[in-house]
Amino acid sequence: MTAGLLAAAYVAAFNVARTRLGVPEDEGGRARPGVLAGGALLVLGVVAALAAASGPLLRVLEITPETFRIAAGFAGVIAAAVVLVMPRPAAEPLPRRWRAAVWPVAFPLLLGPEVLALAVATGSQEGVAATVAAAAGALVALFVLGFLPRRPLPDRVLVWASRVLGAVLLLVALWLAVDGIRDV
């Protein structure tokens, strides 16, 4: 997996445009920074932990890393299909203050099954550092997007960007599955 593909995989799996549509906002139409940062850091920690534990985890599950890439591809294909059909996330009830970083930002907006599977797949193949770097890059992009006020980013643009990222996820997922099949 090239660095570019790895970065694209995480941007698409986190689907920064779709996530931005679901992040709690302040009155100015910007994402609540503490909530977004907290959620992103929590997600980065989970991705790092999964990548670091991918080897032992796959051994316990008796799955070779090559075969798991097929599973990650399947998860990605299904997630991409969901995004293409529903580019806007469902409105979730919002808890007060910092808890919004956990729900709904970290879960279910960011930590979908495709992200969890991708973290294990890339952790076992590309290593923890590359995985965390790619995930961090995608989360920084989300953070930047979160600080832009909504006026230049009407919902229509974000919805289409969400669809485009869904299509990218579909391609990355197919690539992962085929790579898992073709590998030894």
Partner: protein, 391 residues
């Protein structure tokens, strides 16, 4: 909120459970020692020898549940089984097996037909075939390796010239020879082309400088580049004979095309063995993965990955494949040792001698089942021995 959380968590859990069941069931690879593999090979060779007929033919097939012996026979499979017996005699250091394999060899040599500068054997009731003769050459080379006896050197060359007579300028091999017209029949055999490439590469090892290796290369290139399109295969064929041929030509015979072909083949055998390791044949796994595959099918994947293991050890450009190739080969050995019919298993059937040492697919064993697994196990043993030495 609790209701939404429960919904999301439930969907996540169901999704992962579905993936686990349908896409990535556990790949179970029993751990076996080189000694266990040797014992399994001994048992397999004993099954072949014990059930030979007086005329030098082997037991073709046996249904243990119906206690029924197959009345069919196949010349290419006969040659393949003979080859594997010689492989066993050489690899296991069992010279006494050569006498039994020689009976199988005699069955072929008694049926040689003459052509323009070549000889080829014609199995009873069958045409003169490329694959059967390629495996006759391979059997003779394995015999030479097991005995150092040069008695059949001229026969090797003579049958080798039949293979060359079937070869076309682009490396393609015609699978049949028509004795009536005295011409090669322009049809391809599913495995015959790879068998012929391997036989030619083996002849180069026995008779270097006679041009056999040069003749093998265009056929290897044909297999790598054109065979699947010409034969209308939807996917590239996982041809273990081609893997044998690549291993035999070694690094000196590799270029970019053949190296890439070796990688592709490693991938085919790899996914085949990974998928096989997911098969339990029971419960929900039966519905999702069906029963464990035919021993011949798994055996050929083992033979192929073992050949590529030998190649990858010698070729730096393929060395990155070694860790996974070794894992798959060890998994193959573990699966097939654990699936072999033991004496205790055999005791429960009317004719235990037809059961012990064999591998069955839904109650039926065919001689190529035992042949391919035997060859694969013999090839896996050195790798396991190396691992044991390395700790």
């Amino acid at each position: 909120m609790a209701r939404r959380l429960l919904l999301h968590v439930t969907l996540l859990a169901l999704g992962f459970a579905g993936l686990r069941l349908a896409v990535v069931p556990a790949e179970v690879c029993p751990v076996v020692t080189a000694a266990q593999v040797s014992h399994a090979a001994d048992e397999a060779a004993a099954w072949i020898v014990r059930n030979m007929r007086d005329d030098g033919r082997y037991l073709y097939g046996y249904d243990r549940d119906g206690d029924e012996i197959s009345a069919q026979y196949n010349g290419t499979r006969h040659a393949g089984v003979t080859m594997s017996l010689y492989q066993y005699a050489a690899a296991a250091g069992r010279p006494e097996v050569v006498a039994h394999a020689d009976r199988g060899l005699a069955f072929m040599l008694e049926r040689l037909t003459m052509g323009a500068g070549w000889e080829a054997w014609r199995p009873p009731g069958e045409d003169v075939q490329l694959g059967a003769n390629a495996l006759l050459v391979a059997a003779l080379v394995m015999r030479r390796n097991a005995t150092s006896d040069p008695a059949y050197d001229e026969a090797m060359r003579s049958v080798g010239r039949f293979l060359l007579a079937q070869q076309q300028p682009d490396g393609r091999m015609y699978a049949l020879w028509d004795e009536d017209t005295g011409e090669a029949v322009p049809v391809s055999g599913k495995f015959a082309t790879g068998e012929a490439a391997w036989a030619l590469a083996l002849l180069e090892g026995e008779f270097p400088g006679e041009g056999w290796g040069e003749a093998a290369l265009p056929t290897l290139d044909y297999l790598a580049l054109h065979r699947d399109r010409d034969e209308g295969n939807l996917t590239r064929m996982p041809d273990h004979w081609a893997a044998y041929a690549l291993a035999e030509v070694g690094p000196a015979g590799l270029d970019g095309v053949r190296r890439a072909y070796a990688r592709q083949l490693a991938g085919y055998f790899g996914i085949r063995l990974r998928f096989e390791a997911q098969r339990r044949g029971t419960g929900i796994n039966l519905w999702l993965r069906w029963v464990p595959g035919t021993p011949a099918g798994v055996g050929t994947a083992g033979e192929g990955i073992a050949a590529l293991w030998r190649l990858a050890r010698a070729e730096p450009g393929l060395a990155d494949l070694l860790p996974n190739v070794e894992e798959r080969l060890a998994c193959f050995a573990g699966m097939m040792v654990s699936r072999q019919a033991t004496a205790a298993d055999a005791a429960g059937y009317p004719r235990p001698g037809l059961v012990q040492g064999a591998w069955f697919y839904r109650g039926y064993v065919q001689m190529d089942d035992v042949q391919h697994v035997l060859s694969g196990l013999l090839a896996a043993r050195p790798m396991l021995e190396q691992r044991e030495v390395a700790g």
